[in-house]
């Protein structure tokens, strides 16, 4: 009796319509409202940005590893940013670092990761025809696209893109006269981020409402795959934290363009006093990190969800501690909002307050450890199948543990005074956030590629890709810890003017070579990805013998995902190697009445409920009532 239904009527109609004649090209591939197409759009855009973002890091790694080297050969790409003598312009170095951070954190690992897998998997795994609102979902992607476009344009303007670090602290970012990157580049950065936040909001609203309202019959919350739990909580994190960044950015825009003093006070530039008094740059840091810390989990949680699914499937064992996994996701999400000031230990914060944030921060180690141990215990004595997706998932667990350990070190405010803003921090978050989430992204692509494109990725190339990347990532970031402990600050153009800097040139060189190596290793993936999309081996319906609902759809999934009725769900998604069962996996849509030989005593009671489940079919988006 609602708007929904009116729309539904419409949906059904248009559905019948294009059973007869196809949607035109624009509606089908460009302004599509189909979650699977939107997911692929996010994925391709994310990969595009990843290539750009990582290429940027290779350029500034060249500068760090080989200071003074002749980079004239980059002139065709970088033009005037390479000086006459073949050196990289120091201003552009800062811009590159900033763009690399922004692109990787927001465009690749937030939009790319959540956008791809939340969109693709939520309807397929909860058993829905599509997202709650296809239209808003489409808008979400196109907002993201426009936001990316603005950021892309900013790279090419004369004064260069934003250059104040991905955290854009004022006053540097607030005063155009402070640095060339704070001119037009920062304006575009802020505009781009404002649009990005809207895109993220639209996406998240859809993810949350779809999970709540459109689960198929029988799909209780405790039967949801852990991927869905992770996407759901991630979306909630985004809904709550991104608006605070929006506020921070709006205030910054006013400081930049309208003469307010929200973040500015008592500043001299070139010996001249600015009129601004009364604001506080520390205020910006509080606002930023209120988003910034949850953001790192927005990036990581989907990767952890993907890992849970893949590790269970490929260990042929139920996930260890399903409910503990959910609880730890929730605990991490909750704690994420009350630890932000651990990024601000050295801002002159009251040491007592610092110790409170330290205490809260260290508590995160508990749910994190729960997750890590649950992965390990799931793997323990499993019949492990080393698919590329599985390798990347195990790699993620390894990275999560090594990066988490350095997090505990940084979480101690006394230690952080020494380590803050050094390469130790850079190493910490690249391992635990950057590499781990990227591994989640890869794992997800290797695992669900057959569902996305109906073809398989080449497994051997996948294995090669994994080993090169895994070794490469550790070679890059392990030595970086020592560079940080030695006191090298991050975001410096070069260290050659300090005596102590000279002693670590070889290690810096090593890191840079490893980075270049890892960068080129990714072309194995890119080739595999694009080649297999068209020429890969044709996939079977359920290539990994997995339990979740997406594998009950046809090999080439059409509009509405299932032909005929949406399957009902009778069990959790982790019935692998169940004692007594003749097969080693029992998909979620198999009722307990058909598996009497393997039911646990309490599961026989569920048989009585099967009729009720089957009858409860009221939210099929294609059904007309």
């Amino acid at each position: 009796m609602s708007v929904v239904e009116a729309n539904l009527g419409h949906d059904v109609h248009s559905h019948d319509e294009h059973e007869h004649h196809e949607l035109n090209f624009w509606r089908q591939y460009i302004f599509s409202e189909d979650h699977k197409v939107i997911a692929k759009q996010y994925m391709i855009t994310g990969i595009f940005w990843a290539v750009i973002g990582v290429a940027m890091s290779v350029i500034f790694r060249l500068q760090l590893g080989f200071p003074g080297a002749n980079l004239s050969w980059l002139k065709p790409f970088l033009g005037g940013w390479i000086t006459e003598t073949g050196a990289l312009d120091p201003n552009f170095y800062l811009a590159l670092v900033t763009m690399h951070g922004t692109i990787m954190v927001f465009f690749v690992l937030t939009a790319g990761l959540s956008g791809t897998f939340s969109n693709f998997l939520i309807p397929l795994q909860v058993g829905a025809r599509d997202m709650a609102s296809g239209f808003l979902n489409m808008l979400s992607f196109w907002f993201f696209f426009v936001s990316g476009l603005l950021m892309f344009v900013s790279i090419f303007i004369e004064t260069g893109p934003a250059a104040g670090g991905w955290v854009i602290y004022p006053p540097l970012s607030a005063l155009p006269q402070a640095h060339m990157g704070s001119e037009m580049g920062m304006t575009l950065w802020l505009a781009s981020m404002a649009i990005f936040i809207m895109s993220s909001l639209l996406g998240s609203l859809n993810y949350v409402t779809t999970v709540i309202n459109l689960r198929t019959r029988g799909m209780t919350f405790t039967r949801l795959p852990l991927t869905i739990w992770a996407f759901l909580i991630t979306a909630v994190l985004g809904i709550i934290s991104f608006p605070v960044l929006l506020s921070a950015a709006l205030l910054l825009i006013f400081d930049r363009h309208f003469g307010t003093s929200f973040y500015l006070s008592e500043i001299y530039i070139n010996g001249e006093a600015l009129p601004n008094v009364g604001g506080s740059p520390i205020l910006f840091q509080h606002l930023f990190w209120f988003l910034g810390h949850p953001e790192v989990y927005i990036v990581l949680l989907p990767a952890l969800g993907i890992t849970s699914e893949i590790i269970a499937t490929n260990s042929r064992k139920p996930i260890f501690g399903y409910r503990a996994m959910i609880a730890s996701i929730m605990a991490i999400a909750f704690l994420a909002f009350i630890v932000w000031a651990h990024h601000m230990f050295v801002t002159g914060m009251n040491p007592f307050l610092g110790s409170i944030f330290m205490f809260l921060t260290l508590i995160i180690a508990v749910p994190s450890a729960v997750k890590a141990f649950n992965y390990i215990t799931t793997l323990w004595r499993g019949n492990i199948v080393f698919t590329p997706a599985m390798l990347f998932s195990i790699g993620l667990v390894s990275l999560f543990v090594s990066g988490g350990l350095t997090g505990i070190i940084l979480g101690n405010s006394a230690l952080d005074i020494q380590l803050h803003d050094t390469y130790f921090v850079v190493a910490h978050f690249h391992i635990v956030m950057g590499a781990a989430s990227a591994f989640g992204f890869f794992a997800g692509i290797y695992h669900w590629f057959p569902k996305m494109f109906g073809r398989m990725l080449n497994g051997t190339l996948g294995q090669i890709h994994f080993w090169l990347t895994f070794v490469g990532v550790y070679l890059v970031f392990m030595p970086m810890h020592y560079i940080g402990i030695a006191g090298f600050p991050r975001r410096y153009y070069q260290f050659t003017s300090f005596d102590f800097g000279k002693s670590f040139t070889d290690l810096n060189m090593f890191v840079s070579i490893a980075a270049i190596f890892t960068f080129f290793a990714q072309f194995v993936f890119l080739w595999n990805f694009f080649y297999s999309m068209f020429k890969g081996k044709v996939a079977t319906q359920n290539p990994w013998n997995s339990n979740t609902l997406e594998w009950t759809t046809p090999v080439n999934v059409g509009h509405g995902n299932w032909e005929g009725e949406i399957p009902a769900v009778y069990r959790w998604p982790y019935d692998y190697s169940k004692p007594g069962s003749p097969v080693d996996f029992i998909p979620q849509n198999i009722p307990h009445s058909q598996t009497l030989e393997s039911n646990f005593p309490h599961e026989n009671e569920y048989i009585a409920q099967e009729k009720e489940i089957e009858a409860q079919n009221y939210n099929d988006q294609f059904a007309s009532h």
Binding site: E5, G218, V244, L246, S247, G259, T260, F262, Y618
Partner: protein, 253 residues
Amino acid sequence: MAATAQPNVKNVWLGGVEPMKASYGKLMMWFFLVSDTFTFSALLVSYGLVRFSFPAYAGKVADFVSSPAYWPIPEKVFDAMPFMHGIHAPLVFVGIMTFILIFSSVTMVLAVEAGHRMDRAAVEKYMLWTILGGATFLGCQAWEWTHFIHGTDSGTVVKEIVDGTWITKTVFGANLTENQYGPAAFADFFFFITGFHGTHVFSGVVLNYLVFYRTSTGMYERRGSYEMVEKVGLYWHFVDLVWVFVFTFFYLV
């Protein structure tokens, strides 16, 4: 999909139904409001932080004079009424504005209720009252801003350093860089937060008008549901609630 289509569902969390009998649109509105709450909270917390970094006025209230050196007492600043030039009426005008806005929330409740009864004429009537309330609020706010910007007849004499020398000048009214009432931050936050809220009210009025228009063309009647009225109603109540906080923080404390 909504209530009527789910007869006798015993276990609402079993899947296959909308567990809270709320359409996805309504849920989205709720979650959007959660998000927007954090936008406003961030602004209000920022306001609090900056405000308490300034000293409060220490003397007797009766002797209060504005100065950039300390945070002003709101009732000494917001004491003007239209057509009553020179009369000291502390917080009376903003009180009226607040009352109007809250009253428009009441009419919105009535519109939603009329929607449940499928009473098109009543929905139209109450939506119109709500729109009127919102528009009046915006009009009042425009007047208040104008007054705030133009200032009082006498202004405030301030001493400040410009290029190394002390100068004395009289400031009238307020803009984003200086104002006669107190520190620059006072006017900055006033303009930003009430402006941001006003933008929300404005969007609300536009949405309300859209819903009114669609009601009067009979669109919801044909659709058989006035759920859209409920959705804009949620938004409208939220905007009112936010105003209560803005009012408290800017005018009362």
